[in-house]
């Protein structure tokens, strides 16, 4: 057991080192994300002019939602895991894992964790720098149940984020080029995952429908628990169950794609 853990700890530390090389790039990316907050601030500020509440939430609540979204994205979002996996399949680097007692999913997941450790810490930089400007517009509810349910929701969101990227990467066993497919699904994810607007502002039937889709649990769900857009612990608990269901489905799909893909794999290059 300990030997197994050591194996992936080594992968984690290699991932950590290679991600630290790009720390400046990540930091710059983080600061650019905060530029996006200016757009959010101007647009929603104008929408809120004359409206004390939109969808039952004040301006500060909505703004906090968007800030939290960026922070959570750097903490758990899959950045380019799908490309990396796709590259390893296409240029044959994946062959070395087939010959060694290494579980490819666990190996990739260790690297994902190390990468998110780096980006998750780096995003705190722009948060700290801009905090004096932001603090008047940030409101975080301080209920204990939000922590108790939000943290597991966040962890499962990370699994869903990584799981979806893993599946897309594995599609490379069948298709040479996945870039278009990935960006296409990114557009869908950004809407149904709540990155363009808080999902609760959608028409009611669409909002209900979205709760049965995996995208809802990729980002919106934990952020909504933390920022007070979900205020009923029972509903949040219900959401956790559905989220767990999606985690199982996506991980199983990844496993299936891996098994089927390997049968097709011709191990070119290496």
């Amino acid at each position: 057991m300990l030997a197994i853990l050591n194996k992936y700890r080594a992968a984690f530390s290699v991932g950590l080192q290679s991600n630290l090389v790009y720390r400046v790039n990540f930091a710059i990316r983080g600061f650019f994300s905060f530029f996006h907050l200016i757009v959010v601030f101007i647009l929603w500020g104008a929408a809120y002019a004359g409206n004390p509440a939109i969808g039952g939430f004040g301006f500060a609540q909505t703004f906090t939602y968007f800030v939290a979204l960026i922070v959570v994205q750097f903490m758990i979002g899959a950045f380019n895991e799908d490309y990396q996996i796709s590259e390893e399949i296409r240029n044959g680097l994946i062959n070395q894992f087939l010959l060694k007692p290494v579980n490819y999913f666990a190996y990739r997941f260790s690297i994902y964790l190390s990468a998110r450790l780096v980006t998750g810490l780096l995003i705190l930089l722009p948060v700290l720098v801009t905090y004096p400007l932001l603090k008047d517009y940030l409101v975080l509810p301080a209920d204990l149940w939000r922590l108790a349910l939000g943290v597991p929701a966040l962890l499962m969101s990370a699994l869903i984020q990584f799981g979806i990227a893993y599946c897309f990467g594995l599609v490379s066993f069948w298709l040479l080029e996945i870039q278009g497919l990935v960006i296409l699904s990114m557009a869908l994810e950004s809407v149904l995952g709540g990155q363009i607007f808080p999902l609760d502002l959608m028409p009611d039937w669409l909002f209900r429908l979205s709760q049965y889709l995996p995208y809802y649990y990729q980002m919106y769900f934990p952020v909504a628990i933390f920022t007070g857009r979900i205020n009923d612990p029972a509903a949040a608990l219900n959401g956790l169950v559905l989220q767990a269901g999606w985690v199982v489905i996506i991980l199983a799909l990844g496993q299936l794609l891996w098994r089927r893909g390997l049968r097709l794999h011709t191990a070119v290059g290496g």
Partner: protein, 264 residues
Amino acid sequence: MNLAHYARIWLTAARYSVVRTLMFRGDFIIWALVELFWMTVNLLMISVIYQHTDSVAGWSKYEMMLLVGTSLLIQRFLMGFFWSSIFEMGRNIRTGNFDFFLAQPGNVMFMATTRKIDPDSLINSLIAAGVVVYSARQLGLHPGAADLALYGLLIGCGVIIHYSMLVLCITPAFWITSAQGIEGSYFTLSEFSRLPREAFRGVANIAFVWILPVVLVSNAPASTLLRGFDLRLVGWVLAVTVIWFSLAVFLFHRGLRRYTSASS
């Protein structure tokens, strides 16, 4: 080196791009869909916001749609005619492949920024134009030929301004060869172009309306359609176009002098 000569060069490059697209039809369809999806995302955002309010900075829903449609239209033209070439320029400067353009029969800036066109973006410009027409109909607008010509002129200026800004985003590659990802800074800027000018106050007004013309570029044609001809606005856009284009030409050629064909 006259205009006909450049037109011939451009047509040859365009024909080559179209042939390439026909070779990779699957790619063409996927990328056209990608752009269509992202355009829809922007329109969805507008409709969700207007479900909860009637006016954003004094703009009604369809006025806002017209603004977003205009901004998307300018962006499609930029993407269709210049994006691939300018994006690759950064990489070529870094790797030394830029040499290829120095040996070509024409102005280097022209050759390097117009080499590839993207038919998928150009197809989607029809959709963006459709959004503008649909919004104008919903608003009961009946623009005359002069209004339409003016709208076209302002769109053209907008494309030139965006082109200049994009070139300016890439030009630092002549000095700092490791500056990867500076292309992304342009996208952050273009997000501002979908907002109404009236929403900008204070520092934001100075930065994004006066210093960087991103907001002006989309707002000027849209408000010309909505509120008619305004001499000051059109004059302002024309002046800004000349200034930014000159700046791009000047800095590009300054950078070109630094180019050492360094590669590894």
